[in-house]
Symmetry: C2
Subunit: 249 residues, 2 copies
């Protein structure tokens, strides 16, 4: 039995999220069905990030075990021939025994796109949160930088997460401006993320940008450990899982 | 009565094209209905380019006459509040009496996107022609440059056009490579275009890129005036009307 690692890109708009659900189509479900056909038996696929409904991926990773001897390039092509066009396998690699996409991951990078404009372009409308009122991106950048490091992020966790510890380390937490100020990009790399944590951070950063809370207050919000002190959860469609980081295999 | 000029961006994927048809939703129809509601009576909208079903626009223009006194910014916002998110009015301007989006246009710029890759990214899959076999972009660039200038382009016109002359001038005709060779972009500016002319040029350039016809043969193809000598019509979804050029108003 081989252990394999997949890298995936997907437009999450049409899906219930990474994880199999009782109803609706999941990315995990699509992959498991495609692999079942190749293997001739059930295959369980583990994803690094359990992206929610509507969240996109540029570099999701997944692992599974396979008895079939198909080489990695043929496997990539076979999966892409079966999967719908909004889910693409960008790489298949042999992984060492025991490799697990989620448990072996050292860190993940997420990106959130805000169109700070009267309207979103037709071509990006499904991939941004469009905010028509002016945002102070410099204040948002200060607030984002302030929460980098190791903290208890319980205030930024939505209900439904069931983790033992809510302490996480954000290695980078950066707001940048693109396209002459029209696009505001939040990029965050951390050793792990609580349920909807990135979207809750973004919802809070937008309140900073709108002048509804001071940039300097974000660390206090973290320290409160009180979800009601943080901002709203930003919409799923602006969020991308960009990359999952591992030790060299 | 005022004469007004609109600039539009749209994702053509869901539409039968610019022009009203017996069946299906057209961009012209959407605009005329939205303006009817504002004006309280019928408004005829003239588009600069009658983009086909599935063709996109980054800078389509249109003109119409309006009795209503609503200022241009309020008109833009009112139209965008009514139109679906895949059609956006980027500008509304007062135009001189007699201005006509199509007849007053001096030139138009189109862009065609080719993903020369095993598969198109989920995020660009509806906006490119994906060609998995290798293309010689340098040969395509030579062929594209060879047809710049004034020629009879009858060989590149699909049936259904009913124009008196098939002579057109291409001011620029350029193939460029992006994204490490993964993306091939054809951009063409001309004083006018015959029916599906850009897509037929692209279909022919791809045959050059695939080595199925020499780059030096394109001018002969033009001179033949024979549609059967040119290549296939490239798919609509890779084509964008980028801009329409006018004399200063």
């Amino acid at each position: 039995v081989r252990t394999l690692k997949l890298t995936l890109e997907y437009d999450g708009g049409a899906y219930v999220g990474w994880q199999r659900q009782a109803e609706g189509v999941s990315i995990q479900g699509l992959l498991e069905e495609a692999l079942h056909r190749i293997e001739g038996g059930p295959v369980t696929v583990h994803g690094a990030g359990r992206t929610d409904a509507g969240v996109h991926a540029l570099g999701q990773t997944a692992s599974f075990q396979l008895a079939h001897a198909l080489d990695v390039d043929a496997l990539r092509r076979a999966l892409n021939a079966t999967l719908p066009g909004d889910v693409r396998v960008t790489a298949v690699e042999e992984a060492p025994p025991g490799f697990h996409a989620r448990f072996s991951a050292r860190a993940k990078t997420y990106r959130y796109l805000i169109a700070n404009a009267e309207f979103a372009s037709p071509f990006e409308r499904n991939y941004v949160w469009c905010i028509p009122h002016p945002l102070d991106a410099a204040a948002m950048a200060d607030a984002a930088a302030a929460i980098a490091g190791t903290h208890d992020f319980a205030a930024f966790q939505n209900t439904g997460g069931a983790v033992e510890s809510t302490v996480r380390t954000l290695l980078t937490s950066i707001v940048q401006v693109d396209d002459g100020g029209r696009s505001i990009v939040y990029e965050v790399t951390g050793d792990g993320f609580l349920r909807q944590m990135v979207r809750t951070i973004v919802g809070t950063l937008v309140e900073v940008g709108a002048g509804r809370r001071p940039a300097g207050s974000l660390l206090e919000t973290v320290e409160s450990r009180d979800r009601s002190r943080a901002g709203p959860t930003a919409p799923a469609q602006g969020l991308f899982l960009v990359a999952v980081h591992y030790d060299a295999m």
